[in-house]
C-alpha cells in the first residue's frame, strides 16, 4: 500500500507516493536525498534526526512521513541562506560547538527552536533545552557557549 504525501521541505513543495511505514527521516534522507539529517538511535533519545516541523523541533525518526502531510519542514540543508551560514551555525563554528559533527544538525535545529521561544536563555535554560539531544564529543560546554553566542547575534 502506498499513500500520497505533499510536504514542503526547505521551502519547496514535494509530492511522493510512500509506504505508510516509511519514517520521515528516511523520506528526507532517501526519497529526497537530504542526508544532512542523521539517525543516531532507534528509541527517540539522541535527537540527531531533529528537524523543524512547522517551526517546532521534532524527531523525524519518531514520525511517519505520511504524518507530515501538508506540513512545512526545515532540515539542516535549509538553514543557510545564499551561502551564508545561519547565526546559530556561525556561533557553533565560532565557539567550537561541534567535533565529529554527527549530532550537529539536530543540535543546531533544536537550538534554533529554543532561541525562537526564548531569545535570551540562561545557561540552565540552554542545558535544559538540549536534553533531547545527545552529543558524545563536546561535553556540551561549547554547545552551550555557542547557543549563548547565537542569542547575542540574533
Amino acid at each position: 500500500m502506498r499513500f500520497g504525501v505533499s510536504i514542503t521541505v526547505n521551502g519547496a513543495r514535494r509530492k511522493h507516493e510512500v509506504e505508510p511505514r516509511l519514517l520521515l527521516v528516511h523520506y528526507l534522507r532517501e526519497t529526497l536525498g537530504l542526508t544532512g539529517t542523521n539517525v543516531g538511535c532507534d528509541t527517540s533519545q539522541c535527537g540527531a534526526c531533529t528537524v523543524l516541523l512547522d517551526g517546532k523541533a521534532v524527531k523525524s525518526c519518531t514520525m511517519l512521513a505520511v504524518q507530515a502531510e501538508g506540513a512545512s519542514i526545515t532540515t539542516i540543508e535549509g538553514l543557510a541562506k545564499n551561502g551564508k551560514l545561519h547565526p546559530v551555525q556561525e556561533a557553533f563554528r565560532e565557539k567550537h560547538g561541534l567535533q565529529c559533527g554527527f549530532c550537529t544538525p539536530g543540535m543546531v535545529l533544536t537550538a534554533c527552536h529554543l532561541l525562537e521561544k526564548n531569545p535570551k536563555p540562561s545557561d540552565a535554560d540552554i542545558r535544559h533545552g538540549l536534553e533531547g539531544n545527545l552529543c558524545r564529543c563536546t561535553g556540551y560546554q561549547n554547545i552551550v557557549a555557542a547557543v549563548k553566542e547565537a542569542a547575542a547575534r540574533m
Partner: protein, 289 residues
C-alpha cells in the same frame, strides 16, 4: 529498526475514525505516535492498520468548560506546559507536562496518546488521577466520561472499549487555597518516571481540608494513597503530618515493578520521599495561592 507494514487511514471525522477502528480488527489509533511508533519499530506492536486522528478537526486545544478545563486529545505536551489558562487554573498539569520526555517529544507527543498507551512510567496518569480528572471518550455508541482513576486498568491497558477514542481530558479548576505539585525521579536515559508523586491539597484556616496523593512509576497503574487523607485532613500541615502521610506509601505497593536501574523496593522508597516533598511543595503553594 523498522516497523512491519500496515494499512494507514487518515479520517477527517471522529465517526469515520470509529468506523475504521471497528472495520479493521487490530487497528490502532495514531495520534502523536511517540508511544506507539517506538514499539512498532521494535515490532513489539504490530498493528495491521493505523487510524491517524491527526487530521480530525477540533481534537486539539485547551478551553475552559464551566468548572473544568478541557484539553483536546491531540494537544501536545508543549502546549499544555505553556498554557496560561492551565498555569492559572490547574498548574499541576503544565508542571507535569513540562517534565515529560524532552523538548522534541513534548512538541509532538499528545495527552490523548499518552494516556491511551497507559505506560506505567508515564507522567500524565499520576497527575490526572491526583486531580480527579475525567477522560472523555467517543465510540460507536457515543460519548462516555470516565474518571481518570477508573481509566487506567492495567499495564498498557485502559477502560477504552473497541472502537473508542480518547477525545479530551477534563481537569477541575483549582480554587483558592489549593496547592499542587508533581515530582518525579526521571530515568537518566529515557526520562520516564522511575517514581513519581502528585499531590493536590486544600488548606482552609491553616488546616488541611483535602489531600489527594497519588504515586506513579511503581506499579501497573497510578496508586492513590488513601490513607494520606486521614493523616492530613483536619490537621495543620507540618513536617509531622506530612511525614505521616508520606509514610503510608511504603506499605501500599506489595509487589512494585523493578528493573536493572531501580528495584521495586527502591522505587517505593523514592516514591515516599517524592510524596513527602510533593506534599510539602503543595502546601507551600496552597499558602501562597
Amino acid at each position: 529498526m523498522y516497523s512491519e507494514s500496515f494499512e494507514y487511514f487518515r479520517p477527517k471525522t471522529l465517526a469515520e475514525a470509529s468506523a475504521l477502528l471497528k472495520k479493521h480488527r487490530g487497528a490502532r489509533v495514531l495520534a502523536g505516535g511517540h508511544s506507539l511508533l517506538p514499539a512498532m519499530k521494535f515490532r513489539l506492536a504490530t498493528p495491521k492498520a493505523l487510524v491517524d486522528i491527526g487530521a480530525i478537526k477540533g481534537l486539539s486545544g485547551i478551553a475552559a468548560k464551566g468548572k473544568a478545563i478541557g484539553i483536546g486529545a491531540t494537544t501536545v505536551h508543549a502546549e499544555v506546559a505553556a498554557s496560561k489558562l492551565l498555569q492559572r487554573s490547574c498548574p499541576l498539569l503544565p508542571e507535569t507536562a513540562a517534565q515529560i520526555g524532552d523538548v522534541q517529544v513534548r512538541n509532538r507527543g499528545t495527552i490523548g496518546g499518552s494516556i491511551a498507551h497507559a505506560d506505567p512510567a508515564a507522567d500524565y496518569p499520576t497527575a490526572l488521577v491526583a486531580l480527579g480528572a475525567t477522560v472523555v471518550v467517543r465510540g460507536p455508541r457515543g460519548e462516555r466520561k470516565i474518571p481518570a482513576e477508573d481509566f487506567f486498568v492495567d499495564l498498557f491497558t485502559t477502560a477504552l472499549k473497541p472502537g473508542e477514542i480518547v477525545t479530551a481530558v477534563l481537569v477541575p479548576v483549582s480554587g483558592k487555597g489549593t496547592g499542587a505539585a508533581y515530582l518525579k525521579h526521571p530515568h537518566p536515559a529515557s526520562r520516564y518516571a522511575v517514581a513519581a508523586a502528585a499531590a493536590v491539597v486544600d488548606v482552609a484556616n491553616g488546616v488541611c481540608s483535602r489531600a489527594s496523593l497519588v504515586i506513579g512509576g511503581v506499579s501497573a497503574t497510578p496508586v492513590r494513597v488513601l490513607k494520606a487523607q486521614d493523616a492530613l485532613v483536619g490537621k495543620k500541615p507540618d513536617a509531622a503530618s506530612i511525614g505521616a502521610a508520606a509514610a503510608q506509601v511504603e506499605a501500599l505497593v506489595p509487589d512494585p515493578m523493578g528493573d536493572v536501574y531501580a528495584s521495586g523496593e527502591f522505587r517505593v522508597h523514592l516514591a515516599s520521599v517524592l510524596a513527602k516533598r510533593a506534599l510539602a511543595a503543595a502546601f507551600e503553594r496552597a499558602k501562597k495561592g
